[in-house]
Symmetry: C2
Subunit: 559 residues, 2 copies
């Protein structure tokens, strides 16, 4: 069902129609006035699309005679218009990444702007009457769009009942783009449509995907997108297989369910089309499916740099093996399995996963694990260890968790996933550097060393700043929500803000009760958490040139 | 009144008598067998004391005929014995500092051991039947002794009703020694009795009081003790003046009250002989007295290095002025007012005080400030800004605080006082370094600079480690207490543990409800907070010699 407010429906529909009209006109005008030598085959396609858009709007405005409204609303024509608009949107998005690179903005500012723009687009789309079943307030649309773009998963409206299939597709698109990183996504499409990557784009992506070799960036980008699509495809396939048919009205619905949850899991988004998440009756005991979701979450949270590292290693080993077998060439040297970043991330992630599993298993025996089968306990504990970092799905009733588990969740959420991944938090690498620094100070060393490498002082300073800013943002968030919603318990508010900052999306059930001011606070915290408080501050702060001379060094009296 | 358990009274009295007997014998034997050339005038004094102790015990054991028990218990002789025992104890304490220096232990280990030994002595003294009015369990004696030695001020028994005047004197002595630092205290007495300072003692104190010039240590030590005594004396005097006579049964009681609160304030101990602290009816509106206590707290929390810095500056300026006036000597150069440590501490402390005052003023208008006079609101806000850092006195009903104030208190408590002071927390300097580091990372600088000085990387690493360890300790403390006392609200537990770690002593009223296991946890947290988690880890960890060669440097991918 659509919104019940006919006036709102009327105006938004009119605005949409005018926008489509303008879009069609713009495309035609641009192609007419553009440099002839640069015209290519695509212009014909674009002209066809533009004319189609114009005609469809003119039909709707009764220029070719009158049709009953009901025919137009449900007609195939309207769906076709949507498809064309979407295609053009994606194509323009590809050009967008080129455009912003021409603006010569700093990478961090681009990063922030891209997320902001995506959020605004998302808010507008979710505010459309056709997105919701019973209307939505602007703040709720903004909150939901931010939550989706930032792959947080906190919800003020039930995704399953408050949003139409169209709204759900919008949400899914938002967290897919947001999870992959707006710029990764748009650059890929720019690359896809143009066939090459601009230097600016390369330089920006170098920071974002942590690829030092500029020449390898385009291939790295393709690897990332293919990796994403492959994992999401197989995850959706397995979710489809392990979910019972009887739970859905049609195969199409089941397919959509599988795709939605596969993407949501890989992007660590935590959105679900079920009211109670995976705890929904019927889905609660589908442990095979839970395990698929858990593995997908881990793959999304491990970070693209780690994936690229292992991929390159595998390719090298395979190439070597093939050469050895077919050409008889001797294996020259064993390549390093993984670089220091990968190792640090893998060790820390594994340790956190084990700690999460063991503590969940221990503290939840009399709570959420009570009465489950042995396999059920195992899968639920695995899921419980994985979801706070920072997937945000729930396979149990969150309000039934024991207090120790909630405290461990706070820590796991705060640490979060690995850098360059779809997850949030301060990141495993930051946490690892904090531990290494403490260890080296305790053992009285002046250098931080691990795996035969020395960690740079710069990494240490940055990790310290990230941790300090995380506490600042979280503290301020808790403080403000406490002021705007004084009736809420501190632990619930703290959990909510940690969840928002680390883009987890788990909640002890207060999200819908937040006042508008609190919702805005949580929105800002989600945004800061996803983009990074440090990134934002670096982007807006004036760079200070360093002096040529040094001041004398002083040691501060600590403790 | 004394304990009601006659059996316990009998045994502890017997043990005390045997100890006094052994002490007397030891002194005599030592003087007889000691090197004749090293004998000095004090031997005669010691022999007299020893013989007196022996005789007094033999009298009590009826070797010279029988006396009624009641005569002996209340006789002047018994009080004299106590005074002599105390004198000998202090003298031996002075020798103790020399002894531990001969053991060639690391300074941090000495620091830890001295606090441990003082806690054990305190526990034994508070466990004596004469310390309490109605008996005390061993865990409560241990808790109270640790709280006093660590100048925390958390209490499981009401200091005013559960402890006898003797017990209160024990507590006061413990926090006086603990606040000044056990080694400062004992070294001073060793120095006082011997007239000189050993090199080991000097080297240890150099770290502790942050005095770089080894030659200046003995004079610095004297300055510290004189500063302490002077501030405490004038604070007691003013408290005496500003408190009404009618509140006390006698002038002696009023004097004891004044001394107790002056020492407690300067040492940031937070112990009070009033059941409700300064919120006690009758004392509640003595704002002049509150202000005196607040200023004393600030003087104690500012740190001895800062005091020494200003003192030396003042002396130099005065000397210069005197020379100029009387000799006509031209003032050669203006000495630096204060070093970087002092400045950092002063700026941070002032900022925190202002923030504390403003937020208390704003958020408490409808809570603890309601209905107070303008002056009352001012003083209560000043007090409210000062007490969480980390004095622990309360001039209001703590359970009536607004939630925003409680959250701000958590932060102020965590930051705490300045290094080298009687207060706790991570310290203002650590907090300042964290801010400076964040600022320099945000503005893209590779160096941390302030006041024309560069902060060493070592300071930064240490600050990072201190902050990381503080969260680790606090987190573990909250976690364990939550497990052992699942019925308590998280905010109360968090406040309690922050209070314990930063040796604040404020509580939302749950201390007495803690289970024995939780009390032990809080005790350990208090100890870690006072001695410093980093200090403890450095002391117990094996030092790792650094390699001659360096590993290649790597940058970790942060964010
Ligand atoms: K999430
Ligand atoms: K205290």
């Amino acid at each position: 069902g659509y919104t019940t407010d006919p006036e709102k429906l009327y105006y938004t529909t009119k605005i949409f129609e005018i926008l489509v009209l303008l879009l069609g006109l713009t495309i035609i005008l641009r192609n007419v006035f553009s440099n002839l030598s640069r015209k290519n085959k695509r212009i014909i396609f674009e002209l066809v699309v533009a004319i189609f858009l114009l005609v469809s709007i003119l039909i709707r405005w009764n220029l070719f005679g009158e049709y009953p409204d009901s025919v137009l609303l449900t007609s195939k024509k309207y769906i076709l218009t949507n498809i064309f608009v979407t295609l053009i949107f994606i194509q323009e998005l590809g050009k967008f990444s080129l455009l912003v690179n021409k603006l010569k903005l700093s990478p961090s500012l681009i990063f922030i702007l891209s997320f902001s723009i995506l959020t605004i687009i998302g808010t507008a789309l979710l505010y459309l009457p056709r997105s919701t079943t019973a209307g939505i307030s602007l703040i709720d649309a903004f909150f939901t769009a931010t939550s989706a773009v930032c792959v947080t998963g906190l919800i003020v409206l039930d995704t399953s009942t408050a949003f139409t299939p169209f709204g759900q597709v919008v949400i899914m698109t938002l967290f897919q783009i947001g999870g992959l990183g707006m710029m990764t996504f748009t650059t890929f499409f720019g690359f896809f449509f143009r066939g090459s990557l601009s230097l600016e784009n390369s330089l920006f992506l170098r920071d974002y995907i942590n690829e030092k070799n500029v020449g390898a960036i385009s291939s790295t980008l393709i690897k990332i997108v293919i990796f994403t699509v492959l994992v999401e495809f197989f995850a959706a396939l397995l979710i489809y297989v392990f979910t019972e048919d009887s739970l859905f009205a049609s195969a199409g619905q089941k397919l959509f369910f599988s795709a939605f949850h596969a993407i949501s899991a890989f992007c660590n988004a935590g959105f679900s089309t079920l009211s109670s998440g995976l705890y929904e009756p019927g889905f609660r005991y589908l442990y095979h499916m839970h395990l698929v979701v858990a593995v997908t979450i881990v793959l999304g949270g491990i970070g693209f740099p780690v994936f690229i590292n292992y991929y390159n290693y595998l390719v090298r080993v395979l190439t070597g093996a093939v050469r050895f077998v077919f050409i008889g060439e001797k294996y020259r040297h064993t390549p390093r399995v993984s670089n220091i970043n990968t190792r640090l991330v893998m060790y820390t992630s594994t340790a956190l996963m084990l700690v999460g599993f063991a503590t969940y298993w221990y503290f939840e025996q009399d709570f959420t694990l009570k009465g489950l089968s042995y396999y059920g306990k195992f899968v639920t504990s695995v899921f419980g260890a994985v979801t706070p970092r920072t997937a945000g799905f729930n396979s149990v009733d969150m309000t039934a968790l024991s207090v120790p588990t909630i405290l461990i969740y706070l820590i796991l959420m705060w640490i979060g996933a690995s850098p360059g991944s779809t997850g949030g938090g301060i990141k495993t690498s930051t946490f690892a550097v904090a531990l290494l620094n403490t260890w080296s100070v305790v053992t009285g060393r002046r250098r931080m060393e691990i795996f035969g490498r020395q960690i740079s002082a710069e990494s240490n300073r940055k990790a310290f700043a990230v941790i300090a800013l995380s506490f600042f943002t979280i503290g301020l968030g808790v403080f403000l929500v406490t002021i705007y919603n004084p009736e809420l318990a501190l632990i619930d508010v703290a959990f909510e803000i940690f969840s928002a900052y680390s883009t987890v999306g788990l909640s002890l059930g207060i999200t819908a009760q937040l006042s508008t001011a609190s919702k805005l606070v949580v929105t800002v915290v989600m945004f800061f958490g996803r983009v990074g408080t440090l990134t934002i501050l670096v982007a807006i702060s004036r760079k200070i040139k360093e002096r040529r001379y040094k001041y004398p060094e002083e040691t501060i009296y600590i403790t």
